[in-house]
Symmetry: C2
Subunit: 215 residues, 2 copies
DNA sequence: GCCGTTATTGATCAACTGGCCAATAACGTG
DNA sequence: CACGTTATTGGCCAGTTGATCAATAACGGC
């Protein structure tokens, strides 16, 4: 009753308020897209006045770029950590492909695709996009290089092959964004394609056999 | 001197004016993106008053969707015709991959990527996107099916494989949009990957040998 | 407890958007 | 030649956007 109209947001430490705004902005980007990041939208979700958002982020362009980086960097680190816990390079690469094709990451894919477009008019964002693409490529490249070192892969150029794999994954995900239920066996086909370009043995990148079949 | 201020655009036949507006809109989309399609932008480029654009296109949403379809359908037909003129399925598929990775088509790729994002808020556009993706997939699917029929390919599911190839190509192109000079040997890697998923002989999809080497 | 610092507000501004419409003028049919 | 049709205009409206700023109020050091 009494707080149906909270006239003024409680004063908070800048670090705390800044974190709140960042979280509000991230959730908007994931739910409605990067282009839904406006001073008023962010302010409404955070429960503050529009001017306060501008106070913390004098430029919306930078807020968009920072939010993009925050979202995708978190995913990169998460997947990299996941893959780092596996044994052989084949298992690592297989798990990486399986994870990236997971439908639950479609919201992040949407952010990627929108960033590619918006980067055309927002140079700050474009720079962030290139940075984050480099980070992704490095994860894959290291994995491929490890496989080459162990003799499991035979790709002569891990750098180039990593870009190629990244591009394929992005394309398949973007496609799933529009035609979510179109393709069957995405993972199987992708695994075969990746085996070919990294020079891995056929079927060596297919998902681990069904649980219980080898025990 | 006399025509520095043409007060009024000459009255033209509706079909002619409509074609002019369509051309103006297409050029804007290719140069500045689909989101630059506004009543005033189109009017300025066509040399008419903003109201006239609204007169011919009561809904901007539909104008955007129509322009998207016009641009990408032209490309699909062009490439389909090009491929239809080749001999074997291998040659056709190889030429298709080579053509689609051509840097000169980046402006069309940008339109594709933006359409994927804008389709989220423009249902008319989203519908057009699905339609044009289907058209692309059909071209590839027929090519793969022809190869299976001739015994050159062994893909069990041309439908699914075609979607996969389309996704890969789109992803690599979108990547080139941002990192235009990043990857070397894009075509070679892609050809290997496609050979694997269509079940073609190794190197059978590489570009035709250097002129003179086999003659 | 006083006071400077600053977090927070809400209004305002210019610039843009799509859509609408009365007025104008050029065309083709009669 | 007259007249109805309609291509074309330009202004208007309500909505959105990012940015700015004076006013307010809460915090923390003294």
């Amino acid at each position: 009753m009494s707080n149906t109209k909270p006239r003024r947001a409680p004063r908070k430490a800048p670090a705390e308020r800044s974190a709140e705004l960042a979280q509000a902005t991230r959730s908007i980007a994931l739910e409605q897209g990067l282009s839904a990041i406006t001073l008023r939208n962010v302010a409404r979700r955070a429960g503050v006045a529009p001017g306060l958002v501008a106070h913390y982020h004098p430029s919306v362009e930078m807020l968009v770029a920072g939010t993009f980086s925050s979202i995708v960097a978190a995913e990169t680190e998460e997947v990299a950590a996941l893959v780092a816990g596996t044994g052989t390079p084949q298992q690592g690469l297989s798990l990486l492909l399986e994870t990236l094709l997971d439908d639950r990451r479609l919201d992040v894919t949407a952010v990627w695709v929108e960033a590619w477009s918006l980067g055309r008019r927002n140079e700050t964002l474009a720079s962030s996009v290139r940075e984050q693409m480099d980070a992704w490529q490095a994860v894959i490249r290291d994995l491929v290089a490890a496989g080459v070192a162990s003799g499991d892969f035979s790709a002569p150029d891990a750098e180039s092959v990593a870009w190629q794999i990244l591009g394929m994954v992005d394309g398949l995900n973007a496609q799933a964004l529009v035609r979510w239920n179109g393709v069957a066996d995405r993972h199987t086909h992708l695994a075969r394609a990746v085996e070919a370009i990294v020079g891995a043995a056929p079927s060596s990148l297919l998902p681990a056999a069904a649980p219980g079949s080898d025990r």
